[in-house]
């Protein structure tokens, strides 16, 4: 649905987006992940034509954004919940948007109902909490029943109820067959919602893969085995190409093999196994590892809390 090719954007001397290429497919939630300052918001602004790229091209459904007949029917985007005139009521805000794309008036009441804001429709939006502003922004994105929805950091500053609501909404939209493109710097948030990931750092593409692949790619993925015969299992695993090391308490940590493979090896060798656990690297760890080199504004925090992988580089993955 969205095709980005060789996208580059500079602000003065600073390169915000650097030769970025990726595609976003319908029917799933694509997470757009990267540290603050990685170029996520800039990329979204470029997709919407708010800023002009220095190089590269973007198409939505095969067309440039500004050539879309009715942009609201194609793309509903929420970049910043505060991008409204605070003096205008929620109803009039949505009405003035709907009118630009010749959408029927009744649609305004429908989306207000959907986001639970019918009761405050006539209230001016400057009095709204962040959560309410976010709901108003989402109502606006749904006015045109768009095939693509795009949210920039949608859960920022929301309470747990609001976060859950947005997660469910994104899943519903994707299940409807829509293209959902959502950015976040919160890896845990992506873990809960995204099917596919596009990871950026310093404006460059770091990874474009499924969530499962992204986690598996991390060197943190391992299998924990507890067995009364550790030495025999270590040898058997080494023979099959895995690496096993013994923990202080005698449990083995196996890398390079999947849980099923480890279980099969033990069975073939007649080794008893008391525990076999997948140690899933969290997305957080995988992300830190992959973007370690590309964090733009690194705080002077102790090195131990930033596990930078030795072999991963910013652009080579």
């Amino acid at each position: 649905m969205i095709e980005v090719r060789g996208l580059t954007k500079r602000y003065g001397d600073k390169v915000a987006v650097d030769g970025l290429s990726f595609g976003i497919e319908p029917g799933k939630v694509t997470g757009f992940l990267g540290p603050n300052g990685a170029g996520k918001t800039t990329t979204m602004r470029l997709i919407l034509g708010l800023d002009y790229p220095d190089a590269g091209s973007i198409t939505v459904g095969g067309k440039r954004y500004r050539d879309l007949a009715y942009p609201m029917r194609e793309v509903g985007a929420l970049l910043d919940a505060k991008s409204v005139h605070g003096g205008r009521s929620a109803y009039n805000h949505l009405l003035c948007l709907a009118q630009t794309n010749n959408l029927p008036k009744r649609r305004v009441a429908e989306v207000l109902e959907l986001v639970g804001m019918s009761a405050v429709a006539r209230k001016r939006s400057k009095g709204f909490s962040l959560g309410m502003s976010q709901r108003l922004g989402i109502a606006a994105t749904l006015l045109g029943d768009p095939r693509v929805v795009m949210f920039d950091e949608p859960v920022n500053g929301l309470d747990p109820e609001g976060i859950l609501w947005i997660r469910n909404l994104m899943k519903t939209l994707a299940a409807d067959g829509r293209t959902v493109f959502v950015s976040s710097h919160l890896m845990s948030e992506m873990e809960n919602t995204a099917d596919h990931l596009i990871v950026v750092g310093r404006g460059k593409l770091i990874a474009d893969c499924t969530m499962a692949e992204f986690i598996a790619r991390s060197s943190g993925a391992a299998v924990k085995v507890r067995t009364p015969s550790p030495d025999a299992l270590v040898l058997a695993i080494a023979a099959k190409g895995g690496q096993a090391s013994a923990d202080a308490d005698g449990t083995l940590v196996v890398r390079g093999l999947a849980t099923d493979q480890v279980g099969d090896i033990a069975f073939e060798q007649g080794i008893r196994v008391h525990e076999l656990t997948m140690m899933r690297a969290s997305l957080e760890e995988a992300f830190m590892e992959l973007t370690g080199d590309s964090v733009e504004y690194r705080a002077g925090i102790p090195a131990a809390s930033v596990p930078v992988g030795p072999s991963t580089s910013g652009s080579g993955v």
């Binding site: 919407l48 009715y70 970049l79 005139h85 630009t100 429908e110 639970g116 749904l142 109820e161 299940a175």
Partner: protein, 281 residues
């Protein structure tokens, strides 16, 4: 709230009618009309315009009337039409310039511009719609104010016997022309708003061009001043609201000065649309 609505599969929204054509000027005009009528600042500005213009012009006319009754000699060279339009011309233009500038700078100060351009990425369409809707509002309010100020002023001047009538020489041109030039000043500020994208800079520049530059020009040596003054956007109001002969011979005629101000407005509007289309939002 409606958590369940969003998580139960399909969204509870009705089906949209099939799309035909494309988002264009018609929708943009309706949208801009909704925008301008749905914020309080529009009403405050227009009420200020009415109260200041009509109220002050009535006071000036009433005071002039009693003065003329006591000093009949001052009736020579007294321009009843111009006097009844003075506050509207002098201060009304400033208030309308504030509205014209804010119609566009408020989009930037609130961040609304990002939403507006997302739903209508054809920027020229958005700009033209915004300019046309403001021009329409400005014209209607200017004509209304100009005629009310004129008729009220003449009613108050009637006791001095100096009241003008619309059929008098140059009177209709003065009333209509003043309304048109005040509208042009608003359009000029609209263009400045698109250039600066900042309310304070826009209003400061508009005030500078309409009030400060003429004062500075007045300080120039006479032979320069008389060459420059007719090219200023601020010179039209005094010329077009006058109905008596004896105007400054270095000025163009009423419609000539109108054309100068119109040229300034067009220049600002064109510079505004070029930058509006070219720059990152």
């Amino acid at each position: 709230m409606t958590t369940s609505a969003a998580s139960s599969g399909k969204l509870p929204l009705s089906t949209l009618p099939a799309a035909s054509g494309r988002a264009s000027l018609g929708g943009a005009l309706r949208s801009e009309w909704t925008k301008i009528r749905s914020v309080r600042s529009t009403y405050w500005t227009l009420i200020a315009l009415l109260v200041v213009s009509i109220g002050l012009d009535a006071l000036i006319s009433a005071a002039s009337s009693s003065h003329l009754q006591g000093h009949p000699a001052d009736k020579v060279g007294f321009d009843s039409t111009q006097v009844s339009l003075f506050a509207f011309a002098f201060l009304g233009q400033l208030i309308l310039a504030v509205l014209g500038g804010m119609v566009i700078t408020a989009e930037y100060s609130t961040g609304m511009i990002r939403t507006s351009l997302s739903v209508q990425p054809r920027r020229g369409t958005l700009y033209v719609a915004k300019a046309l809707v403001f021009a329409g509002v400005a014209l209607v309010i200017s004509f209304f104010t100009s005629f009310v100020a004129f008729f009220l002023g003449q009613a108050l001047l009637s006791s001095s016997g100096m009241n003008a009538s619309l059929s008098g020489p140059g009177v209709l041109r003065a009333v209509v022309g003043t309304a048109l030039v005040v509208t042009l000043v608003g359009m000029f500020a609209f263009g400045l708003g698109a250039i600066f994208r900042h309310t304070a800079a826009t209003i400061a520049t508009a005030i500078g061009m309409m009030f400060v530059v003429p004062i500075i020009i007045n300080l120039l040596p006479d032979n320069w001043r008389i060459e420059v003054v007719r090219w200023l956007p601020s010179s039209a109001l005094d010329r077009i609201s006058a109905t008596l002969p004896g105007a400054n011979p270095h000025m163009f005629g009423p419609w000539g000065q109108f054309a100068v101000t119109a040229a300034w407005a067009v220049a600002a509007l064109v510079a505004g649309i070029v930058l509006f289309r070219k720059r990152d939002a």
